[in-house]
Symmetry: C2
Subunit: 453 residues, 2 copies
């Protein structure tokens, strides 16, 4: 009987997160205060985030202890299985060994709670009573609602109105976990009311939802804001994925030649890769692929420069690959990959040529998802299908070259609440959506006048 | 750091199913041919099931080898975790230790694939090319679609029309796995056409869907029918749950004082309990609770007698607790518990007083589900909430009595596709639905004239 799942005993769960800042070949560019153009001071963020999280955001310490209380909650679903995709290997007749880290086993169904639990904990000990956040399709909002329910914190989520109406199951999940979910734009904030006055039927956007959540968070000493991707502390918390995977691969006697992840804001990709990138920097040969949709080609078509994290221009300026903060991607179904920018850490690694970006068309990703479901059984989130499509390309290449490569990727979440997207694909209602050159040029024009790197 | 999950290494997965028939204190009553009133001969079932499955249905062998090819597929998600529900224990301030076997980690999200994989395999080696089945809310249909996709079998599912329209996600899951799903009644069968002629807008029923699936299955030498619960071979395949749980509890140094499961057709309950019932028969003191809804009180209000397995009266007569084969329960949300009868094996155990039945109201089960989600994180299927409600009662009693009981139950599946039911509960649109005495008497009257035990 050949093994499939490599299980890490509870006692072997990593006790520290890994901070790549300690090992980068050169320091990262600092975030800038847009008003002054000067590097942001930690105090500038104090009304938005609790100080213990701000300290993590700027920390240079290589390993950071995972608090006991966070580990306890992680154990609800962690360590997650590392699985050998033997069904896919057989179907592709590839000599490659394909391993996937199954992050879909968490209660909300994705890797997002790795940071949601940590952020809820740090807010709790800081004294925060209520956390505000925004969510697009609902993955992050439901992860934070779950985390807050375990720590007894209040949670209010501004959900982009079009998703609020079209994807009611994610809202219901948040409510089961005791959170309150508002359609954004709402009339609860000045930002929301301003939009609604101009357009009462506004479908909302992530940018507006962020503005609403931040506006509410800063109104009270005991409330704060939480972000589910992009920032350094989020990447830090997600390294639990790669740290576990490394131990599990070692138990299987393997080491990855290729590591693949989909990249929207960058958190699942970074979580898997960072512990291995440390070894790549130290000399190991590993190919690292960050996969994005052709409809939102941040890494493959955008410049590495300073831009706002949100559409409304309220955040600090972040050093990242970006398509411009006003860019609204085509409505592809991988909602988690429709972000104009990219985590500064991931951007830095690409700029340093430690990570290779790859853009894939929507139809290829859904075809990959169907192949996966029919060979490996699990139904993937559309985001994860981007990683699977790249894995299939690599495995086919291994067959053509007759090479026994070891491929590792993160299966970032299940697609059980994305069935409508599969239905559209199977009914031939989907198509490719590569970003047209003209739209790209228009979008990049908005970066004029912002500081460059 | 206290443990939560007890993981069984891949190498420790049970290699045999356990057959309770070998250990029952007295033999089971045989199924009867309704035309003759005589015990059914195995050949009578040959047009419907493959002979290797019929042999298992009547086997008296205590342990039956799990074929290598079935084990290989089980390893996609098995062994499943046995988890300690520390969050719930703390919330209830109970001295009881609560363990749950997490069957929600399978690709379709429930325990159903334990038998779907086995049935697909036996059909495959028998020479079946296409399997027909029916499904109500879609759990069984999606499990069989998943299993058939892994073995390269065609699968056609007749789904009760009202569910087909109201629960499109389950249909889409079946299609992702390559199955074809029809709304029943359909015009593909005589049974369906007869209904549609009388009532073109018929919402369908499980009884009609079974008739359609069986009618299609018997038309070809290379097609067969599959059932997801009730029959002996289904209970057999599900014993993998209890066999794993027993090893895991032993690893934790515990043995159950109480075992709890929800019971619709009886398969998840039997799967967990049967390996322990063997030891109860041999003298161990264990309390076994089969939990059903008050709206479908088969075990607590029905007699133990012969009845048809389906509404249309096409199946053999089975010895079981039943409310009468024409009984249509109130529309509670735990679709998997709305069956008029009960597996003959489970019925026999209740009749022999080895298992205690317990009926719980809908509102208590949803309250239990919310408590579970906010303490343990996972969102449960409404069926599993029946087990959780009983667990909470036992744990509260342990607190009152100051007893350190060990409670084991099967968390039979997640509720991610049942969010609308939670939404109705949180919006105060649900209510209790105990079966009225008058309806019970009416329903039981239809058993007149059928053989008794």
């Amino acid at each position: 009987m050949e093994f499939r799942n490599i299980i890490l005993p509870t006692s072997e769960i990593p006790q520290k997160w890994y901070n790549i800042a300690a090992d980068l070949p050169s320091p990262m560019n600092p975030p800038l205060n847009p008003a002054t153009g000067k590097p942001l001071a930690p105090e500038d963020l104090a009304p938005i985030f609790p100080m213990n999280i701000i300290e993590q955001e700027v920390s240079q310490q290589r390993f950071i202890d995972i608090p006991e209380e966070v580990l306890e909650k992680y154990l609800i679903w962690r360590p997650t299985p590392l699985c050998r995709a033997r069904g896919l290997e057989n179907a592709l007749k590839t000599p490659a060994k394909i391993y996937y880290k199954n992050e879909g086993v968490s209660p909300p169904g994705s890797h997002k709670p790795n940071t949601a639990i940590a952020q809820a904990y740090y807010n709790k000990i800081f004294g925060t009573k209520k956390i505000y956040t925004e969510t697009g399709a609902g993955q992050w909002g439901s992860a934070l609602a779950f985390a807050c329910s375990l720590f007894g914190l209040e949670c209010e989520v501004f959900m982009v109105k079009i998703s609020y109406n079209q994807k009611p199951y994610r809202r219901m999940m948040m409510e089961v976990w005791g959170a309150t979910c508002f359609a954004s734009p709402s009339n609860l904030t000045k930002a929301g009311r301003t939009i609604l006055e101009k357009d009462p039927d506004s479908p909302g956007s992530l940018g507006v939802a962020i503005s609403e959540a931040v506006e509410k968070a800063v109104t009270s000493e005991t409330s704060r804001y939480a972000l589910g991707s992009v920032l350094n502390h989020v990447m830090l918390h997600q390294t639990i994925i790669g740290l576990e995977a490394k131990k599990q691969l070692a138990a299987a006697g393997d080491y990855p030649d290729v590591i693949i992840g989909c990249a929207g804001g960058g958190s699942n990709f970074a979580g898997t890769c960072l512990p291995f990138i440390r070894e790549k920097i130290a000399g190991k040969e590993i190919k690292l692929l960050a996969v994005e949709p052709t409809s939102c080609p941040t890494l493959t078509k955008g410049p590495f420069t300073y831009d706002f994290g949100d559409t409304a221009g309220l955040t600090p300026l972040l050093p990242m690959y970006t398509l411009g903060h006003n860019f609204t991607p085509e409505p592809i179904h991988a909602g988690g990959l429709r972000y104009h920018g990219m985590a500064p850490i991931v951007s830095k690694l690409i700029s340093d040529q430690l990570v290779t970006p790859l853009a894939i068309e929507q139809m290829e990703t859904f075809a990959a998802g169907i192949t996966w479901a029919r060979t490996e059984g699990f139904i993937s989130a559309p985001e994860a299908n981007h990683a699977i499509a790249a894995v299939i390309r690599e495995a086919n290449q291994a067959r053509e070259e007759g090479k026994e490569k070891v491929i590792l990727f993160t299966w970032s979440g299940h697609g059980l609440l994305d069935m409508a997207a599969y239905d559209a694909y199977l009914s031939k209602k989907l198509s490719d959506h590569a970003m047209p050159e003209e739209l790209l040029n228009q979008s990049l024009a908005q970066l004029k006048g912002l500081p460059t790197i």
